[in-house]
């Protein structure tokens, strides 16, 4: 029978290096998946997933085990995602002046093709941050709303509302997009 995360944490605290590796291997795909769905490119997702584990083990003494280790990793990962997305938005805003006012015909064509290929992806990226978080946690990680509330530091009802708003917003965007094609 596989050891629980808490048992592995105990072994890690006792100086067992193999427990560290087991914990990382156990959750690495889940955290990378979360990061990729939030940031949508491999380099950023890999970096963020690694940073999530680094932060977790740096502050492992402050993990009070009131939630699962997995939930705690999600909390850290989402906080880091939030910071990364804000930095991106800041950089995009600062560089806005450098963008040419008149885009070339090729630029429009490329953008249009990309949008056709992944309209849903664009719609997800355009979601408000909290709605997107709730959507990712619910759809791709099968969390219960109570757990989503714990991860997002909000009530179960708020988590549920964020998720429902996200789905309805996507539905509206997709209908408008399909009608305009």
């Amino acid at each position: 029978m596989a050891e629980s995360d808490n048992q592995l944490l105990d072994r890690y605290a006792a100086g067992d290096e193999s427990a560290f590796e087991e914990l990382v291997r156990r959750h690495q795909k889940t955290i990378y998946d979360l990061a990729y769905r939030m940031l949508e490119n491999h380099a950023d997702a890999a970096d963020l997933a690694q940073r999530t584990f680094v932060q977790a083990f740096l502050h492992v003494q402050s993990f009070r085990r009131e939630s699962s280790f997995r939930t705690w990793l999600f909390q850290i990962g989402l906080n880091l995602c939030r910071n990364t997305l804000r930095n991106r938005a800041r950089v995009a805003h600062e560089n806005a002046d450098e963008v040419p006012l008149v885009a070339s015909q090729d630029t429009f064509a490329t953008a249009a093709n990309a949008e056709l290929r992944d309209r849903l992806g664009h719609a997800i990226r355009a979601l408000p941050e909290r709605q997107r978080q709730a959507l990712v946690l619910r759809v791709y990680h099968d969390h219960a709303f109570a757990e989503i509330g714990t991860i997002m530091s909000c009530s179960e009802g708020t988590a549920k509302a964020n998720y429902h708003h996200a789905v309805h917003r996507l539905r509206r965007v997709l209908v408008v997009g399909e009608e305009s094609v």
């Binding site: 290096e17 560290f20 690495q28 990378y32 680094v54 083990f57 003494q61 789905v167 309805h168």
Partner: protein, 198 residues
């Protein structure tokens, strides 16, 4: 139930996360409302498409190296060039210490005791204490010239406050004295080696 209420409950209805009585109401409404059926189908399509979105697998090598990457960055974050620092290191028991640390600590303790002992001998008033009645060359622990047999107050560099009869009791009661004895029996080469470690 109105169309708006049905629309609001579309997601939990599709996810089977709705109270059974509400499920019955929504189902009953859908049977008689084409618009709401279409809307429900549209929401279902969104959920299906969302579920269908996959994340590209970065490959086996990436996963294989992932823990080491984390370990390196963790060591870096902890400000060490060495691999993972264990958080419990400070809680380790004595057997976690190396033999070298033990020998250095023991040597330092012995030398401190010897120093303190010699210093105590130097500052002790020489005209006080009991008279040492007998002392031979063989009994002189440091190999110094023995104090002659005297009836006058003794200048004993070892324990001027003790007469010979008191030695056995003192010896058993004071463990530090054992260390002093051990230190005094060390030859020059051993002492040099201990200092070399320090």
């Amino acid at each position: 139930m109105t169309c708006h209420e049905v629309n609001e409950r579309a997601v939990p209805y599709l996810e089977l996360d709705l109270d059974p009585s509400l499920v019955r109401d929504v189902t009953a409404h859908l049977e008689g409302c084409t618009d709401c059926r279409a809307e429900m189908e549209a929401v279902r399509q969104v959920l299906v498409r969302l579920k269908g979105r996959t994340v590209p697998d970065p490959g086996e090598q990436f996963w294989e190296e992932f823990p080491d990457q984390v370990r390196r960055r963790l060591a870096q974050a902890q400000g060490e060039g060495t691999p993972l620092k264990q958080p419990s290191r400070r809680f380790r028991s004595w057997n976690g210490l190396s033999l070298r640390s033990w020998s250095m600590a023991l040597a330092a303790s012995v030398m401190l005791l010897v120093g303190a002992w010699l210093l105590a001998g130097l500052i002790e008033p020489r005209n006080e204490g009991p008279v040492l009645r007998e002392q031979t060359v063989a009994q002189a622990p440091t190999g110094q010239v023995p104090v002659e047999q005297l009836d006058e107050p003794s200048v004993n560099h070892d324990r001027p406050d003790l007469i010979e009869e008191d030695w056995p009791g003192d010896w058993e009661d004071d463990p530090d004295t054992i260390l002093v004895e051990m230190a005094s029996s060390l030859d020059r080469r051993t002492v040099d080696r201990l200092f070399e470690d320090i």
